[in-house]
Symmetry: C2
Subunit: 394 residues, 2 copies
């Protein structure tokens, strides 16, 4: 297969020779289109690497069901946890179905790799994990689904969860998660003992939800960095949200960033609506890997979200006050290259030897694509069109 007349993010026009589902060569387009049967002529359309969602909750979404109004009685994380337990109990369609609805939707928007947190607690056991494992199997070969065993109800306050996290890894989860060691469990060391205990025992990475703000949140980030170094997990640990970094002064944020960078702890931001957004540019400047994710999509937590990572890059840029092209390109990197690095996606990118995975859109540049978020003309997986004009076709 030949993808002809594609404009790459650097502005060059190329023909892309695809063999065996991988990029065989990036050819100069000045020679014209060869006379071959299997040519997809993009006629100057922008061709991007596939989008990567660094933080999604495939088991939580209610996508495809009739509208479910938000029922949280208050706005604390704990209120929303309780509200979700009710929504979960009232559910009649399995998570594997609603999650599959979401996978089809995100593939149609160009996402081919994702990290999904999956709720584990002593009410659910491993039920949601089993549902998401079904989704992963169903879409095998189309999307990468990395699974984080996520203690949504806490670890210490939900007795038995520590063992369940360990069992989740044994059954197929790829990373162990955590949740506000102080804000939810009220025990920084106890929570991190469990999380890093599983990580060391099972030799897996870590991705911890941290909503706790201010200096208390910073203290938890520093403790996570210390545990990361002590466990030899440098480069395999991420903290999601980390609102604290956006709620302290620049000096403290900078000092914390230096510690995170040294420990190889990455930071995920979805461009929060009301909470403080971490200082993304500062973090990256200090050497922290910063990546993006959707977070909640039409679930008990949020009515918003659609899984479109180009829209997510826009939201991140809007919240971070990005306006210049190089800033919009940074937001784009958060949902492509940086997220792929954090997830450890093999063969990612627009280079000979990489997987022939692409998103084609009508835009003059990456910056314009982020700002305008046009419908995806083609989504291509291993040289095969899997979505066209925004419609799933795999």
């Amino acid at each position: 297969m030949l993808i002809a007349n594609a404009v790459l993010p650097d502005g060059t026009k190329r023909h892309i020779d695809v063999k065996g589902g991988r990029i065989a060569a990036l050819l100069s387009a000045s020679a014209g289109v060869p006379a071959r049967g299997d040519v997809l002529d993009l006629a100057g359309t922008l061709l991007l690497p596939p989008l990567v969602d660094g933080h999604i909750h495939l088991d939580k979404t209610l996508l495809g069901l009739p509208w479910v109004p938000n029922q949280a009685p208050g706005s604390r994380v704990a209120d929303r946890i309780e509200a979700e337990r009710k929504v979960r109990a009232a559910r009649t369609v399995p998570e594997a179905e609603t999650g599959a609805n979401l996978v089809r939707q995100v593939v149609a928007s160009g996402t081919l790799h994702m990290r999904s947190h999956v709720d584990i607690d002593n009410q659910l056991g491993l039920r949601n994990l089993h549902e998401v494992l079904k989704i992963r199997e169903r879409f095998q070969g189309l999307v990468t689904i990395q699974i984080v065993a996520f203690p949504q109800s806490g670890i210490l306050r939900s007795p038995g969860t520590a063992d369940l996290l360990d069992a989740a890894i044994a059954e197929g989860a790829d990373l162990v998660g955590g949740l506000d060691p102080v804000g939810i469990d009220g025990d920084l060391d106890g929570h991190l003992d469990s999380v890093f205990g599983v990580a060391e025992r099972r030799n897996v990475g870590v991705d911890i939800h941290l909503h706790d703000g201010g200096e208390g949140g910073i203290a938890q980030l520093l403790a996570i960095a210390e545990r990361t170094a002590a466990s030899g997990l440098t480069g395999s640990v991420a903290v999601s949200h980390a609102f604290a970094l956006g709620s302290v002064d620049t000096d403290m944020a900078t000092r914390t960033a230096d510690v995170l960078a040294k420990a190889g702890v990455a930071i995920m931001s979805h461009g929060p609506g009301a909470a403080a957004i971490p200082p993304l540019a500062l973090l990256r400047e200090r050497g922290v890997e910063v990546f993006g994710g959707s977070d909640n999509i039409r679930d008990a937590w949020s009515p918003f979200g659609n899984g479109d990572m180009l829209e997510r890059a826009m939201t991140i840029g809007y919240r971070a006050n990005f306006r210049h092209d190089h800033e919009l390109e940074f937001a784009f990197d958060m949902v492509t290259g940086a997220a792929a690095r954090v997830l450890g996606i093999e063969g990612y990118g627009l280079a000979a030897g990489a997987a022939a995975d692409f998103v084609a859109i009508e835009a003059g540049s990456v910056a314009e694509a982020v700002a305008t978020r046009p419908r995806r003309k083609y989504v291509i997986k291993n040289g095969r069109v899997v979505a066209k004009d925004g419609v799933f076709a795999a």
Copy 2:
């Protein structure tokens, strides 16, 4: 014409009898669809009143031109004003053309009424006003375009602007604007003397851009409220942005809200990306009319924006931490009923006697419409389809 089987925001299904471009009657749909030639059967699609954009800049947009990267050297309002003067000087396509591109786009998304600020300064004179007057004439009968004479470069620091604002009203602008009396002009009384002087002399309303935050911004809001009452302009004055209300404590915000409510000063918010968002629910609870607008769309100020007021309601809700249905309905009201009240749109709403103006979308409720922002199935003006499936057709 009969619009059959429309589901209204209150959930009832109705046939809408349209005569002479107005709603003649809202009929019960239980009787079935009458056998008539001129029936548009919505088959249960949600029918909403048209969207209203309370704050747009038709003269600034670069929509339809090749991508223009942001060039502001810094992030202060003053930096962006200077950057815009350069973009403006380099422009080769007239504002009447790019503004018309934007009008077509917003009509396709369901907006039929808007308030456009138009730059007036001693470099431009009334050139941009003349351009926007051309747009207003071109789309007469399709969209309401209310024009604010906006001193984008300040009044006192751009000598001659006060007289230009007055002349702008004489030539067709509907309101007089202002801009950060302290932050830009450094003279609260001097700035407000000019603005309210024109308003009193010409008997027009006022809409002032106020970015200045903190207690300094609050002091300016209080001064505007005082001038409003003194000028007999109660109910005819708005302040756009008013970030200050979101950057002070709840006590001060509440006291200020009470003063604004008493003076009939409305507050416009676009759900700012990085600046503090005013406490919208508190303002409304205290009796302040709160309405929404797009603000910048693909211009020298912002790369973002598309004029879709349903997306804007989502952005406002996302920033304001709205999650419950009644909160999403409030965000929707900000871009429909509340904005129509502030603009003084005659015959607005879904009631017998009102204009037969509608937006039809596939959603089960207003809350779902705000969260999911589906493509507009029909936009109807005076009983005539002016856009279909997101495409302008007037």
